[in-house]
Symmetry: C2
Subunit: 345 residues, 2 copies
């Protein structure tokens, strides 16, 4: 733990290079409109002095921070500890880094924290926000809307509000679910069950809708509500076996629940995919490839979702001036999914 040394200022560089502060500033910010000779001289002085611009001073006048907040509203531990979020974060990080932006992570714990986050965002510490708001009744989107800060949501926010200007990035949950169920039907299955995710999340609701799109008049007993956890998947599967012992296929709203379902099916003496075909969602490699049999699942490109969120946000902030006439605010994007066939269906 060393203390930080006094850092050279613009002034110092200017003195050393024999030019004015303004010129050094110009060079540091790209060097347009400065003679090459001077540019070189200034660069040299910068190197020699090890000059690094003071971001605080810069922000003070530019009102930009080159920083973006990533807000993760996570009352339950669950989602945070799963690879999903990590991958998305990674995508975000890559994109932000590529555009010289910093990532400020805001994790919320409980309701009181919302206020803190709202204050922070409204406080003008960051240029924009990427928000993962998972639950339908989450007050966070409201708060953020009020903060008046450019925002892109991860996943369609379940929002009662009438705002149309919400920008989000999501997977085609409904379409992916349809593909999965159709695939099961294509295998000749007709007692196709669905294990839902937590239905207060739009992803779960959308996947359920996709299931219903195909199974228009499905036996309601074929639908078991769960919560995206392996344990929830097990519980739901037991319920299903109980209610409909003749079930011959299961579409689980994520891989974790599918893995739980597989376990229960095995316990019950059923063979997969022989007796019961199983499909998951997410294509979480570590899970999907390790199950027995390996899981057929609906892949979404999670890292790409993160990258896209960041890209949309940055575009919205339109750095680099409104040159290309891309003035239009970015609109939401729904990424396609693909069915990945492995052993379970």
């Amino acid at each position: 733990m060393t203390d930080t040394a006094p850092r050279p200022t613009l002034e110092a560089v200017a003195a050393r290079a024999g030019v004015s502060r303004a010129t050094v500033s110009r060079v540091v910010n790209g060097g347009d409109g400065v003679r090459d000779i001077l540019v070189e001289r200034v660069r040299k002085a910068v190197d020699e002095l090890g000059y690094v611009p003071n971001q605080a001073a810069r922000s003070l006048v530019t009102r930009r921070h080159d920083a973006v907040a990533v807000v993760v509203a996570e009352p339950e531990t669950r989602v945070f500890a799963d690879p999903f979020f990590a991958l998305q974060l990674r995508g975000i990080s890559k994109e932000l880094t590529a555009h010289d932006n910093q990532l400020v992570l805001l994790l919320t714990e409980g309701r009181d924290d919302h206020a803190r986050v709202g204050r922070y965002l409204a406080g003008g510490h960051v240029d924009g926000a990427l928000v993962f708001s998972l639950h339908l009744d989450d007050p966070l989107p409201e708060l953020i809307q009020r903060a008046g800060i450019p925002t892109v949501f991860g996943g369609r926010p379940g929002w009662s509000g009438d705002r149309r200007e919400v920008v989000y990035v999501d997977s085609d949950n409904r379409g992916g679910a349809r593909d999965a169920v159709r695939h099961l039907a294509g295998l000749g299955r007709n007692r196709i069950a669905h294990i839902t995710g937590a239905l207060d999340q739009t992803s779960a609701a959308d996947r359920l809708d996709g299931y219903r799109d195909v199974m228009v008049d499905a036996d309601p007993r074929l639908i078991a509500e769960a919560d995206f956890t392996p344990a929830g998947g097990e519980r739901a599967m037991r319920e299903l076996l109980d209610r409909c012992p003749d079930v011959d296929a299961v579409f689980a709203a994520n891989d974790l629940m599918a893995s739980g379902a597989l376990r229960v099916l095995r316990e019950s003496g059923r063979r997969v995919p022989g007796d019961v075909a199983v499909i998951g969602f997410d294509d979480m490699r570590p899970v999907a490839e390790q199950t027995d049999p390996p899981l057929t699942t609906v892949r979404q490109d999670i890292e790409e979702m993160g990258r896209l969120m960041a890209r949309l946000l940055l575009r919205g902030l339109d750095r680099t001036a409104p040159q290309e006439g891309v003035g239009a605010p970015p609109s939401s994007v729904v990424l396609p999914t693909t069915l990945v066939r492995r052993g379970s269906a």
Copy 2:
């Protein structure tokens, strides 16, 4: 995506409250030495105007940022996608939030990125850094040392350098490993194998050392090197069965590998813990509780590690003035582990 409105300044609040800027500043920063009447009046003005201090302006003069960088050096995707890191991050976040500090996340991808991180840290954007440097040959610690910024490491950095001033938080990997192996020995096992983690990480090396502490003259064939992944655990277990079919216990350096080992043992027709007892490390609940049988394992309190890292760092930055004579720089902390008995040993 709304644009941010013009924000009220200290000046505005001062005018409204009928006091000077200085007084408002005092109130905003705690209100010491200001009459209660004025404090109240200023607070009211602040509320009415929705005043939020401009952090950039403040940092410019205080040279503090109330922000801490969390650096995750993660060449491989693996660790990032596992719950371990997420939990630690959560602990960090909680502690930082409690002290009104922001968390700036820096993920590195590949070697080139190290320079960027170094520049950022040296650039005085944050007050300190929490660094997860996992590999022995990682150049990051060096870089950071050079940046001259207060730093706490997550896990003992494997460092050839002769610096003694490195501060880190780690689990008692060696002690935990000893406990695990002793427990197995206590069950009467004497052909106790070890599946190591990636040995270029100190945690893996330390656990191996702990194993050796107990198994002083262990058959070298009882040690299989792996990489902390389930697949690696499977591979290692197969190797072990191949080399020593009479193995009667396995201590795996983490739960993920233990779960892989369990799978292989089951495949080979062995019963756990009857024929072979198995112990993992980490106590990653979702994994350890879901295996069949549930995994006996060495628990480390990961979230607490994160919290502690943040606490040490903040203490090192000694906000709140050096009042309590805690002037001494914080030193490293090694947290104890506990053996959690479940079904597998």
